[in-house]
């Protein structure tokens, strides 16, 4: 079928040309940056140093490196989901302004239209988030680079997986929306709420234990943690090498959400990948079933 590439091209172009959709997906990362510059950076630093016994003094660049990794992991974790949502709003917007009629009067199957929205959302999300990753890595390199090649590759893979998650989740939710008002409502909730949910503004470890338990049911949380692990591993190793004992490193990892717990049990990295992978697959299956039912 030679229709699909052009559908995808249309959707991606529309997303980047539509000021509303494109810029609103940048709001959350922008808020994070502002918060970071104004006070989060300092808070992060204080949390971190307070975890260290007074006896230790670590190189300033290590601390900066750690704080920078925390920032970029927050930004990336949030962006993968918010960008996916905003880009996928195209499928609601097409319904709201009647454009979908123009697509549906053609003999093209509705399922192909859905696939078009899905792939283009994934493409836009990956485009933006991978570009963001590159910028973030440049920033980290400037502040203090401790990542290995494997870390970088795993980080890219995490971003990819989280983008898949964001696309699948937004496809499912947007499937039920049809008006401009609903777009704004869901958009606001997602941009404002997801940052909290996934622990981008405040580490999940700083929430009450009840809330932490609730959040441990959100698959997205594990995506954040994966990104955190892979962006911070290098610095943490370096700190370890500089003489800080392993128990303290674990404490730091707890406070930074690198270690997540599901009712007291620590969730290993392979399990996090499994959770995220299974979630994406499940969301996709539901989405496909919904589309099939619609005919």
């Amino acid at each position: 079928m030679n229709t699909l590439p052009y559908l995808i091209k249309r959707n991606v172009k529309l997303y980047f040309k539509d000021k509303g959709m494109f810029f609103s997906s940048l709001i959350t990362p922008a808020i994070l940056l502002v918060l970071y510059i104004t006070f989060l950076g300092k808070t992060y630093k204080e949390t971190f140093t307070s975890n260290l016994p007074d006896a230790f003094t670590i190189d300033e660049s290590l601390i900066n490196g750690l704080v920078a990794s925390q920032l970029i992991s927050s930004i990336l974790a949030v962006s993968c989901v918010t960008v996916a949502f905003c880009s996928n709003f195209l499928m609601v917007q097409d319904k709201a302004n009647g454009t979908v009629k123009d697509l549906r009067i053609s003999p093209v199957k509705p399922s192909l239209l859905s696939i078009g929205y899905y792939i283009s959302t994934l493409a836009s999300t990956l485009l933006i988030c991978l570009a963001a990753t590159v910028i973030c890595l440049i920033y980290v390199a400037a502040v203090g680079w401790y990542m290995t090649v494997t870390d970088v590759l795993l980080l890219l893979f995490d971003v990819f997986l989280l983008a898949l998650f964001g696309t699948a989740l937004s496809s499912l939710i947007n499937f039920f929306l049809s008006t401009q008002g609903q777009i704004s409502a869901v958009g606001t909730i997602i941009s404002a709420g997801y940052g909290f949910l996934c622990g981008a503004y405040m580490p999940i470890s700083s929430f009450s234990s009840g809330l932490q338990k609730v959040l441990s049911f959100f698959p997205g949380t594990y995506g954040t943690s994966l990104i955190r692990n892979h962006s911070m591993q290098g610095v943490l190793n370096e700190i370890n090498n500089s003489g800080v004992p392993a128990e303290i490193i674990e404490k730091i990892k707890d406070s930074l959400d690198c270690n997540l717990y599901f009712f007291k049990n620590q969730v290993d990295i392979p399990v996090m990948y499994t959770i995220l992978g299974v979630t994406v697959a499940a969301l996709l299956v539901i989405y496909i079933l919904l589309n099939l039912k619609k005919t």
Partner: protein, 304 residues
């Protein structure tokens, strides 16, 4: 079988609003079919059902021999639709819009370019290709809408008020393109319009009111049934006109007499040759038909 569209007992309600009620009509292959009715009569609803955008409550639709319920995607490939309000992507250029829409019909690459240049010449939009659709004027955008509808060479072109708000020049361009296509491709045109002079050109006219047919026929039949003739009488005075005993109205420099038909006009003139020295007889216009059929004052009393 020369009916390309057959609609039988079509009904559709939106809650309390009965938009279309037990509607039945035929459209013959190659004809210009005018579907008229006041605002809210149910025209767009009928069109939306015909092209699969809206589900019907009941009834049967056959288009080019295919049943709408069984073969919708075949039907869709034979229809070109210009919606009442344009449904192109405002943010994208004319070229991008047409490219994505053509691809929906499998028209890509060289085939796309060829058809594009054909249509751009025909509808005169070569200069607009790079412009965003949202920034076009109403008439420019309408030409693009029509190009989009014609891209895959549909057998049936459905036009929902294609010329509303356009300047006479653009209307002329559009109609000459459509007339040429009807001739060369034997394309059927299904038109809704509020311009009665466009409807007067139609081969068959259906007028609906509240979702039901209130009149149908050729424009001539409708004029003969629903309107009388006018005699415009010059060079006389009101007293003389009053003596004729027919209904009249004073217009600039003349009097307009209303007679039921041309035969009655002839009788009147023959009876009073001294009064009818300078006059003209005209048939009622489609406007009068429309007003007579849909309005409260039914002239001629010929209600079906």
């Amino acid at each position: 079988m020369n009916s390309i569209i057959q609609i039988d007992n079509l009904s559709k309600s939106f809650g309390e609003v009965k938009a279309v009620q037990n509607l039945s009509f035929r459209v013959k292959k190659g004809e210009l079919f005018a579907f008229l009715g006041i605002n809210g009569a149910g025209k767009s609803t009928t069109i939306n059902i015909m092209c699969g955008q809206l589900s019907k409550d009941s009834g049967n639709i056959q288009i080019d021999g295919h049943n709408l319920d069984e073969n919708i995607s075949l039907i869709k490939s034979e229809l070109g639709v210009v919606f009442q309000s344009s449904a192109l992507d405002s943010a994208l250029s004319v070229y991008d819009n047409l490219q994505s829409r053509a691809a929906l019909y499998g028209i890509v690459g060289a085939e796309f370019k060829e058809r594009l240049s054909e249509l751009a010449d025909l509808l005169d939009f070569n200069g607009l290709l790079k412009r965003p659709v949202g920034k076009l004027s109403g008439g420019q955008r309408r030409r693009i809408d029509i190009a989009r509808a014609l891209f895959h060479k549909p057998k049936i072109l459905i036009l929902d008020e294609p010329t509303t708000g356009l300047d006479p020049q653009t209307r002329k361009t559009i109609w000459s393109v459509i007339a040429a296509l009807r001739k060369s491709e034997n394309m059927t045109v299904f038109l809704t319009t509020h311009y009665m002079e466009e409807a007067a050109e139609a081969d068959w006219v259906v007028i609906i009111d509240s979702g039901k047919i209130s009149a149908e026929g050729t424009p001539l039949e409708l004029k003969n049934t629903y309107t009388g003739d006018y005699i415009t009488l010059y060079g006389t005075d009101e007293d003389t006109v009053r003596k004729l005993g027919t209904q009249y109205e004073k217009i600039k420099d003349a009097y307009r007499l209303f007679v039921p038909n041309t035969e009655a006009a002839t009788k009147l003139i023959v009876k009073h040759p001294e009064i009818f020295r300078d006059y003209e007889i005209t048939k009622g216009k489609m406007d009068d038909v429309f007003l007579a059929v849909t309005g409260k004052t039914l002239l001629g009393g010929a209600e079906k």
